[in-house]
Symmetry: C2
Subunit: 149 residues, 2 copies
């Protein structure tokens, strides 16, 4: 899974609500994983980004980060829990950035997955409004070795 | 805002992703606020309910609870923060139940809103898989007096 269009296509095919949201993975491994979605499909009654869409795009960013990190098509990724803080409204298109954890944490995650066929990773995702931090998301994701798809 | 179809219609009109998810408010004030959405529109790559959709339907349940509780069309409701725990997969249609807080907490919320034109309320939403608790959501919602719509 090198190319980000592959991930976007996978999401749209397998998780239909991501297609309805217009979700696109625009940047990926290595480096920050960035997911975008248009405000026109994800606004609330106030014309700003809907909290549910913000939560979903953050979840997708973490999910895609783990998937690209493992580069293992047989891996299933699920979310275990998450916390989200909405600091200010998002008034433009949604753009979620999942920041890679430090190299030693990623390395431990990969080796645990290789050894136990299962590993968990805490990820931080941010969404900005202009340059101001608008949404902070922290989620625990679990990767599980599964059957090849 | 007595009738729940009104709330569903409002959501679909003002928050388009709720229409794409097939969200319906099926039971409301007084008592638990229940929101449903079909699995067919909200599944993930494993065929179970997508974490983003579960988070969104829980958010909608809390949002609709506050809105019906205040019965004030001029009120804007926003979510400040939330925590969600995914305990097990949801393998059927999604059904989120927002449990009303105790009467004294609701009464304090209403009187603060009347006095300050702004008030916050913590709400707990649960989603079950069959009879087992699958998702626990706790969110802080803020109601703000606004212009009549």
């Amino acid at each position: 899974m090198d190319a980000d269009p592959d991930v976007t296509e996978f999401l749209h095919r397998e998780i239909p609500i991501t297609r309805a949201m217009g979700v696109k993975v625009v940047s990926g491994s290595p480096g920050p994983l960035i997911v975008e979605a248009p405000l026109a499909l994800n606004h609330n009654h106030l014309g700003t980004a809907f909290g549910g869409s913000l939560s979903t795009i953050a979840t997708v960013a973490g999910y895609a980060f783990v998937w690209l990190e493992l580069r293992d098509r047989s891996a299933h990724v699920v979310i275990r829990d998450s916390t989200i803080k909405f600091r200010r409204p998002v008034r433009a298109d949604l753009r979620a950035t999942c920041h890679p954890p430090k190299a030693d944490i990623l390395s431990a995650f990969r080796s645990e997955f290789a050894r136990k066929d299962k590993a968990r990773l805490q990820l931080r995702v941010e969404i900005k409004d202009d340059d101001a931090l608008a949404v902070e998301f922290v989620g625990i994701f679990v990767a599980i070795k599964g059957a090849a798809r």
